[in-house]
């Protein structure tokens, strides 16, 4: 019996000619992701992580750190060069998700793994209504009763604090913060055990972002979902996560309890990052 909900081991993703040797000349020690010899970019290498039910793991780093690549590989939007990904809800964690074919991976996105994207238009169909976006997930999972679908959509939108009188409005008429809430509602529609959040509040006004973070924190507490929160913002990570890993030039430079990482960072890069954030 494993005690994690999602486990990633040895993830590597190279853009360009994917000779594994290119990893040997990239990373924090070399100060770059780019391999001159092989003309490739080692977006991430040797990345491991896991999250348990009810736990949120933070993945923090600046642009180019590789955190977005990690997120896209887990989500299935990007093919990795190497790696092993498991979900406890899929064959008890015995199956490497990366070895599944595309349609099996897509099926996971119905009710095993949900993603909230930084740009809501990536996770939503803007032309259809808020309720319709949720209905899309529910019908994909086999829901066929109109009232049940509507009730569940109402419940989710209520929980994510979307005004119910806008439930039937097309999402393109919503503000950014409201779109994120709809995206959250949709992600939770089929009660997935694992949720990935990619920069959930980037681009939102401060007050709007605070509200969305509060909401996410509340939802994580309630649902017992295992979450991976990718962000460059320490406030987000501090608010939402229990453990955190710092990425730099495609590698993990430090992993620890979030409060420990923020108050006693060990790695020089982590210290720099925390100092810059905390001022």
């Amino acid at each position: 019996m494993v005690n994690w909900s999602v486990q990633l081991q040895d993830l590597g993703c190279i853009y360009g000619p994917n000779d594994h040797a290119s990893a040997d000349e990239t990373g924090p020690l070399f100060g770059t992701n780019v391999s001159e010899t092989y003309d490739s970019v080692v977006a991430c290498w040797d990345v491991n992580l896991h999250a348990s039910p009810g736990e949120a793991l933070g993945v923090i780093g600046e642009s180019g750190s590789g955190k977005s690549t990690v997120m896209r590989c887990i989500a299935g939007d990007q093919k990795p060069t190497k790696g092993d990904l498991r979900l406890v809800s899929v064959e008890g964690g015995q199956r490497n998700i990366f070895e599944m074919d595309d349609s099996a991976r897509r099926a996971l996105r119905i009710d095993q793994l949900a993603v909230v994207y930084q740009d809501p238009s990536e996770g939503l169909d803007l032309k259809i209504s808020a309720g319709g976006n949720i209905a899309e997930r529910l019908t994909a999972a086999g829901w066929r009763n109109f009232k049940d679908i509507r009730d569940r959509a109402t419940e989710l939108l209520h929980r994510t604090e979307v005004p119910l009188n806008r439930m039937d409005d097309p999402v393109q008429t919503f503000s950014g913060g409201m779109r994120q809430r709809v995206q959250l509602a949709k992600a939770l529609a089929n009660k997935p055990p694992v949720l990935i959040l990619d920069e959930p509040t980037t681009g939102l006004d401060a007050s709007v972002a605070a509200g969305v973070l509060d909401l996410i924190r509340g939802l994580l507490d309630e649902t017992g979902i295992a979450a991976v929160v990718v962000s460059h913002d320490f406030n987000v990570v501090e608010m939402l996560t229990r453990r955190c890993m710092v990425m730099h030039h495609g590698r993990t430079v430090e992993v620890g309890l979030t409060d420990q990482l923020l108050e006693d960072p060990q790695h020089p890069y982590s210290q720099k990052l925390v100092a810059a954030a905390r001022g």
Binding site: N145, I149, D168
Partner: protein
Amino acid sequence: MKAMTIKDVISVQRNRNQIMDEHTKREIRRAVLTAVAVPGYQVPFGSREMPVSRGWGSGGLQITVAVVGKESVLKVYDQGEDGGVNAANLRRLIRNSEGVKTTTDARKADVIQTRHRVPEDELQENQILVLQVPVPEPLREVERDMNELRRMHAEADYAKIWVSLYEDIVHNGVVMKTTGYPCLIDGRYIIATTPIPRWDVPKLHQAPFLALYGAGREKRIYAVPPYTDVEPLTFDDVPFQVEEVNAVCRSCGCSGMKTDGGEAGYLVELPQQDGSSQWVCSDTDWCNRQLNTYLPEDQDFKAGELW
């Protein structure tokens, strides 16, 4: 029956009215067999140039020509009318090409080619219904990308069309589709039953006859074998409704409401000069028989010169 020789195939056609060579017929029959083997799956086929333009029933025509034999009895009708120009044209083309007998009585036909209607008569096991299809893709309104469409059918990922039904009900109270209502075939593929009215959709479910759908311009053939589930897409708690009109046919007097005890037929509206409406059965041959003023059973319809 003796096997075809090379000579038969390459010899000059003795019948200059033949609109399809034997090879093509075989190719189309193969496509039809594939379609029957995978109910609801749209089989691509090499759609030939036909003496009717694209959009005028060339798909249905190709299927009919491929499946009839010299002994077959054919009915061709359009929107319930056997006498319309297009139906007459197609019927003449096929008869001259294949030498089939023709009839207007759906009960007597082996093969019925139709546009827009399914016969009001209950068809039997030995009958084939060939439907003319303009747009075979049921998901066309919710997705344009061909690769994505293929994937959706392959993975039975029909969420998008369910969402469009949801949106329809939310915004309009009902599903708005009047013709070509999407149906789930054998629990697997969704097809466009285009372009028959909703009235006709229930006739397809577990029907004893074979239904073949041909789209010439789009180059697709699909089929619903006998005794196959045909379920119009709807939510469990939103019953599929057919068009009903609270009127009777001015010719035969049958009702436009299925719920009544007696015979009911799909009625079409005839606006009158004074602004009112009269209604008449769409299926003219069936209507004539309801009147019992039609020819007795043992007499055949006699074709006039231009028929």
